[in-house]
Amino acid sequence: MAARAQSETQVLVRTSGLGKAYPKVFHRRDRLRALGRLLVGRRGADAVRVLEGVDLRVERGQSLGLIGENGAGKSTLLKLLTGVLTPSAGSVLVNGRVGALLELGAGFHPEYSGRDNIALSAALYGLSAEETRAKLAEIVEFADIGDYIDEPVKHYSSGMSVRLGFAIVAALRPDLLITDEVLAVGDESFQKKCVRWMEQYLSDGGTLILVSHSMYHIQKLCRQAIWLRHGRIEASGGVFEVTQAYLAYHERKTAAQEVAHANATGTGTEFELVEFALNGESADVPALIEQGGSLVARIEVTSRFGREPVIALGLSRADGTTVYGLASDMDGRHPRRIDENRYAVEIVFDALPLLPGSYLIRAHAMDSEAMRLFCTVERGLTVRGESRELGMVRLAHAWRECVDAGSQRGAAP
């Protein structure tokens, strides 16, 4: 603890030009050839690069989130940091004791009981038998898996393995905690327990590297983030900036697929949506606005027989949850006819109360009676900002009978 306090700015992890390539092994012959090559001191020739040129610097007390798609190299990077893997390029430097929870189970032996595995993990971490005994009760209590602690680990559910694994790491109180998708497996109450523990650990000066697909957890626990893509760092910096860039990228990816799909579901060409501009931008990229900024949606519809369409607009979260929807006929409005077969509307949201995140915004063209849907166009919308509020929209509110806590953790402006 004392050492932690006095070396505030100490670099705990530093990598430069870090890369990892796995050998391509298809045949028995390849293994033999690889053996021969390695014995004479040469590297394998054919290799699949999974990580390239990663420069990383983590100081004591920092919390770093690692995000990216499956196969982006996140787990490989963690394994390189913990020393399980040897880099094929570049270097890794780690000061201090590392507690790692890689994937599920943290290297448990399936045939041994939970207790025996605790002893093994403690021995691997370098604890003596007495130190292990002292920590045993704490670990058993934190894991909270009841009598299963004396059962072989092979009978555990994946949730129980993670409970035990996390309990062990928590008891070891490492200088650097590395966890890979642990929170995804535990149940709600255990997740909360872990998050609470990690927050306490961080406020005590601990250092964290967290891999998660949950942007919620990343934003809650980390101040910095790195987005890995195809084994390279795509973006790094503040957690909000990086996670939003990452979500926007996903948005683009799914939007490209879904617009094609949505357009294909139009049942006819009697009404066709020909223009859908957000803040004057009609290109097929997610619109980007600042939190609390304004949004102007301009929609133009062609009508084959000159009949007036009903135009609707829907806003949903990336996961499909509807946030808000409205239609011209509901509000008693008529689209303006701009020529024989063309109608237009503009819908203006001043100070859009959406919280930062990724959203989908859809425009629909319906017939005059709003009975049939003819055409849908979907676009992504990214709201940028720093906020720890939960949910999708900011509800107007005021605090009473309380004092300003002066939170330093990026409270909403």
Partner: protein, 256 residues
């Protein structure tokens, strides 16, 4: 020293694991080589009428026992260590650790268990009236320790190669069988035609059969030169084994 502590943990786990699950428990460690010795004695003494060389030889059973027990420790340690890395792949993929410990623990636990059996059989032979020189026990213990160094050298080599070439573990029982019969375990060097005697020295294990018999039964002993050569060979093979193991170690994960 954390590595040593870790090694002790693995040795403890290994020993407990091997004997706790079986009904006879720790007794099995003694029963298995005893049964083996009984079968071999029956075959060689009653069927083949084998005799230990020398006029005042104390009989074939002690002659055989003194070479068979070290061989069992040696071969068992070797075959367990060969798959030590592969068997602990789940651990190696998730935790950074000195992997030498896994190989060391496999060899050490075999030598510990067989060592206790060896000691027990020596005392039993003595109780049955065989003139075992108990005063030579410290010397025998040192020889036994040297044998474990030799075994460790081969173990590092085999365990590392096994990660890359999986055929090794499958071929090992045959290889060990051949090695056993090529060593003067069932026979003495003197029983061979004289022109083959010098070839026996090419077998690193041969020294130990003669060293144990020489020290404990008083049969023709090794010279000092032979002992020094054995020390050099054991540590030489350990050095080679460690070199190969350490060179391949960074790449284990890629091939497991």
């Amino acid at each position: 020293m954390p590595a040593l502590r870790l090694a002790l943990h693995f040795i403890h786990r290994d020993i407990r694991n091997r004997y706790l699950g079986s009904f006879s428990g720790g007794l099995w460690a003694l029963l298995q080589p005893l049964a083996q010795l009984a079968v071999y004695s029956f075959v060689f003494v009653y069927v083949f009428k084998a005799k230990a060389p020398g006029a005042d030889a104390p009989g074939y059973v002690p002659f055989l026992a003194l070479a068979l027990w070290p061989w069992t420790a040696f071969s068992e340690g070797l075959s367990r260590a060969t798959t030590a890395i592969q068997d602990n792949a789940a651990l190696i993929r998730k935790v950074a650790m000195p992997r030498e410990v896994l190989v060391f623990a496999a060899v050490a636990s075999s030598f510990l268990i067989q060592g206790i059996g060896f000691l027990a059989i020596l005392l039993a032979l003595r109780a049955f009236g065989v003139p075992v020189h108990l005063s030579a026990l410290p010397w025998a213990a040192a020889t036994y320790a040297l044998l474990s160094v030799l075994a460790l050298g081969y173990a590092f080599l085999f365990a590392a190669v096994q990660v890359f070439v999986r055929d090794l573990a499958a071929a090992l029982p045959q290889l060990l069988m051949l090695w056993m019969f090529a060593s003067p375990v069932f026979y003495a060097r003197e029983s061979l035609p004289e022109r083959y005697w010098r070839f026996v020295d090419w077998n690193p294990f041969a020294h130990y059969t003669e060293a144990f018999r020489g020290a404990l039964l008083g049969s023709p002993a090794q010279t000092i030169g032979g002992d020094l050569t054995a020390v050099a060979v054991a540590f030489g093979i350990l050095a080679v084994g460690l070199f190969v193991f350490r060179r391949l170690n960074p790449h284990f994960e890629d091939f497991l």
